[in-house]
């Protein structure tokens, strides 16, 4: 396949590009879902093609064809250059890509149990079984699903990159919905989006869906009669690690994407409240806040060997002891910002132009346990499992909701609370962080549905997270 990619690059150069790269990708996916005791859908997808980037002056062009023959690849290269030439009608300032040594290499993630060797019957038994169990324990609607992604890609660039990677990802999700007179309540496991990683089927087995199905169904039913989360202008808030993953993703991960900071997403996904002039000096949160973007974490969903322009994966400090020190970047954005490429450029398929995406953006653990946080809280609310998320186009003002909450009084978990929500302003919120879960509670959450870009791309991101406590937070916002 390197030869096909090489043909595309050569064609782009011959058509006038001063730089070009081409990715050949073969993708195979499987999605199975069950509802109320029966498998409802089984979908498999195969995709293969070539995507070519061409740079003329400071202007990019990209073209993709769903065909991996040399002839089609050459045509894609020529068309990419044609598109780039059209871009020069409205050119940007001079651009030199941040330097990266040409890479030759292969990478594949560890897979203990190949998900393709697990029979459809076994997968179906698992999903049907847990949905029946949830129904038996009070769910009106019980749903479960499994997903497998298998991606092979070959990258060639005009600078001499020649890389191949094989990435296998899988995971599963389930949820129980209880329907009441005027409302519905839902509980999910292990999180609203499930759990996914760059791992084999062993990940799904470790989740123990059968062992958790009855509990979440019973919790969904109990929520129908629970008290609503009180509306409080300021209270102590403890978040479970799954909700923390969402908190990190939305209020830190997107905010530190360099393309957003530079304004490249201004009209669609939005910008960022962060100003590059403040890199290294801005206080993002409390001293406990340490965030890294690390695509080398084994098994996490945002892991890879090389990003989609050939930069080797490496950890990048984003927030250190509460100070903002780094960004997610690629070769073009890094060059404009005067920093090294952060190896965070990825595309969700051969037919999409690579762009800045989160890798594994997560919190380094602290020293407390969840039980210790609760015991140390006189008056507060503990919320877990994301239910809704809304944040402004600068990633500053957010309002998030969880599936379940508990009142905390006198250091003990008290009554169940439904419809818990909280709201805040990112740096103030993170500045209120005063207790952080320890390494035993560090979970590499995987988000398989991060939407960004035009045409929209669906990214796979990882978020190492632990439970955390925040002081003086507004909770219980209602309509």
């Amino acid at each position: 396949m390197h030869d096909v990619a090489t043909a595309a690059v050569e064609a782009a150069l011959n058509a006038g590009a001063r730089y070009a790269d081409a990715r050949v990708m073969e993708m195979r996916t499987e999605s199975m879902s069950a509802r109320n005791g029966a498998v409802e859908s089984l979908e498999r997808e195969q995709r293969a093609g070539v995507g070519v980037r061409a740079l003329i002056g400071s202007s990019w062009g990209f073209y993709a064809v769903p065909d991996v023959t040399p002839a089609s690849a050459r045509r894609a290269g020529e068309e990419a250059a044609r598109v780039a030439r059209a871009s020069t009608q409205v050119p940007g300032r001079d651009l030199e890509l941040a330097p990266v040594e040409p890479q030759h290499g292969s990478w594949a993630n560890d897979v203990r149990e190949d998900p393709w060797t697990v029979t459809l019957a076994e997968k179906g038994d698992l999903l049907e079984g847990v949905t029946r169990a949830m129904q038996d324990h009070g769910a009106d609607v019980a749903e479960a699903s499994s997903r497998v992604w298998d991606t092979r890609k070959w990258l060639v660039s005009s600078e001499g990159h020649r890389i191949d990677q094989h990435i296998v990802e899988c995971g599963a999700a389930m949820s129980a919905t209880a329907v009441g007179e005027a409302e519905t309540q839902r509980r999910s496991y292990p999180g609203i989006r499930g759990q996914y990683g760059t791992r084999g089927w062993e990940l799904v087995r470790e989740l123990d869906l059968p062992g958790n199905a009855p509990r979440i169904a019973e919790e969904a039913r109990r929520l129908l009669t629970a008290d609503a989360c009180p509306s409080l202008d300021a209270t102590d808030l403890i978040l479970g690690s799954e909700q923390m993953a969402l908190q990190i993703h939305e209020s830190v991960g997107h905010a530190v994407e360099l393309d957003r900071i530079l304004g490249w997403e201004a009209a669609f996904a939005g910008t960022s409240w962060l100003d590059l002039q403040q890199l290294g000096t801005l206080r993002f949160g409390s001293d406990l806040m340490n965030i890294t973007a690390d695509a080398t974490l084994p098994g996490a969903l945002g892991s890879f060997g090389y990003d989609d322009e050939g930069t080797p994966a490496h950890p990048v400090d984003i927030v250190r002891n509460g100070s903002w020190v780094g960004a997610l970047s690629g070769r073009d954005s890094a060059a404009l910002a005067g920093i090294e490429s952060g190896a965070a450029i990825r595309a969700d398929g051969f037919n999409r132009m690579p762009m800045v995406r989160m890798t594994n953006v997560g919190l380094l653990p602290g020293e407390s346990s969840l039980d210790e946080m609760i015991a140390a809280t006189d008056d507060g609310v503990f919320m877990d499992t994301n239910r809704s998320w809304s944040i402004d186009d600068k990633r500053l003002n957010f309002q998030f909701g969880c599936e379940i909450g508990w009142e905390i009084k006198g250091g003990k978990r008290g009554r169940l609370l439904k419809n818990p929500t909280y709201t805040g302003i990112s740096p103030r919120f993170w500045g209120a962080l005063d207790m952080l879960g320890n390494r035993d509670e560090w979970t590499f959450w995987g988000t398989p549905n991060c939407g960004k870009g035009q045409p929209v791309q669906v990214g796979h991101t990882g978020h190492p997270a632990v439970p955390a406590r925040f002081r003086g937070i507004r909770v219980g916002v209602r309509g």
Partner: protein, 448 residues
């Protein structure tokens, strides 16, 4: 790329299914075309992409066992054979689907012609030229946005004999102009790229940005609102996805009660791909034509949208709203239309005692599907209206509001006469006017 028409590819796929599993039911959708999008930011084109599309979607039911597959690539004999072998293998390994509704019967298609040859033939230079005009119209202010075109030719065939064919072009230019303190948006969508006046759209965005600049905060609370078409489409999206969706009704998660006056009498909401101002195709991936359909007529809920599966569960006919990969989710809207009223923009604003003119909603998320309580923010320009006049720009606000209550009986004070075509996030293309609503619950300023 092969020049084979998609109808011929679809027939070859069915032949392969028959040869390997003669008794199997099968449905196939074949799409070819191009998608192209030119993005600009900081007033230059920073991403400019195009792709060839060659997509095959196949679903089979063999002895009651169902599996689906899709394939992107040239429709070679080998490629299609692997596709068919793979889906039959998956179906055989599945268990019987007791609720399988069967494939679509032979039904005539609806008359839909949303095609423009010049758009299908357009070039990267055509898109870049519109971007250049948008940027120039901003007169030095910073700009960002995208100009896109899509050309799709689709054929559907199934083993019951149903055959449908359609083609569609769409074009859209959507951008913002930015001052130091505000963004203003301008946008248009059409079947024809020629309808998109880059300079005019950029001029409108620049005017909005200037008018929205130096905004000041406003105390949160309940305000009357005049909503521009994008914000109106956002409301309808949630009503469809979590309400009129047959799956949501079946599961008890929906507010929909057919026959009841759940909306203001001014509200008439339809689905109609045949409207000349609409865009897209006239059938779904199950081969069901989308006939014009009333969801709400004069405030009374009249119906819902269905796939074949949700329709079978409800004991009705499918309305043609199945989408690829949406089996678990149910039915999604394709061509919603909110009937226009008779008010000009000035009329709508002129009726407001004290309220807000809102351009866009942003990052809206549902908190409770049954009550349709949604939280989100305003974006790209908000202005305070007092005594029928726009008096000043205000900073963006967060809201937490039941979309159902916002359109409830007595809540709609006026509907605009002009309609705009709005491509929406969940798919579907909305044709909607502006709305004047009695109350909207703003729960906080975007700055905290």
């Amino acid at each position: 790329m092969t020049a084979e028409p998609p109808e011929a590819t679809a027939e070859r796929v069915l032949d392969l299914v028959r040869a390997r599993a003669g008794s199997a039911e099968a449905e196939v959708t074949v799409q070819t075309g191009t998608q192209a999008l030119t993005r600009f930011a900081n007033s230059f084109i920073h991403q400019n992409v195009a792709e060839d599309i060659s997509h095959v979607l196949l679903r089979v039911a063999h002895d009651g066992r169902v599996a689906a597959t899709s394939y992107d690539g040239p429709p070679t004999d080998d490629g299609l054979a692997r596709l068919v072998d793979g889906v039959l293998e998956a179906a055989r390994a599945s268990r019987p689907d007791a609720e399988w509704p069967g494939i679509a019967p032979i039904v005539a298609g609806v008359d839909v012609h949303h095609w423009d040859q010049a758009t299908a033939d357009s070039s990267p230079d055509d898109r870049a030229g519109r971007v250049a005009a948008f940027v120039a119209a901003a007169d030095g202010l910073e700009t960002a946005g995208a100009c896109e075109t899509e050309t799709i030719v689709t054929a559907f065939a199934n083993t019951a004999g149903q055959r449908l064919h359609g083609r569609a072009t769409t074009a859209a230019l959507d951008g913002i102009v930015r001052t130091a303190t505000a963004d203003g948006s301008g946008r248009a969508a059409s079947v024809r790229l020629a309808d998109l006046d880059g300079g005019g759209i950029g001029w409108r965005a620049a005017r909005k940005a200037r008018d929205a600049s130096d905004a000041s905060d406003l105390e949160p609370g309940r305000y009357e609102v005049v909503l521009e078409p994008n914000a109106v489409a956002d409301i309808l999206q949630f009503l469809f996805v979590y309400g009129f969706n047959g799956r949501a009704i079946e599961e008890g998660r929906s507010f929909v009660r057919v026959g009841e006056p759940q909306f203001d009498t001014a509200i008439t909401l339809r689905e109609d791909p045949t409207d000349p101002a609409q865009a897209g195709l006239g059938f779904d991936v199950e081969g069901t034509p989308r006939l014009p359909l009333d969801l709400v007529r004069d405030g009374v809920t009249r119906g819902a949208i269905h796939t074949r599966r949700t329709a079978a569960a409800a004991g009705v006919e499918s309305t043609g709203h199945a989408v690829e990969g949406g089996e678990g989710f149910g039915a999604l809207p394709a061509n919603p239309i909110l009937e226009a009223g008779d008010r000009s923009v000035d009329d709508l604003i002129g009726q407001v005692d004290r309220g807000l003119l809102v351009t866009d909603f942003w990052y809206t998320r549902i908190l409770d599907p049954r009550t349709q309580v949604v939280t989100g923010l305003t974006r790209n320009g908000v202005w305070l209206i007092q005594d029928g006049r726009v008096v000043r720009p205000v900073s963006n606000l967060r809201f937490t509001q039941s979309y159902l209550e916002a359109l409830a009986p007595g809540a709609v004070r006026g509907i605009g006469a002009d309609r705009a075509l709005v491509p929406a996030g969940f798919g579907g293309i909305y044709l909607v006017p502006m709305l004047h609503l009695a109350t909207w619950n703003f729960t906080g300023g975007a700055r905290g």
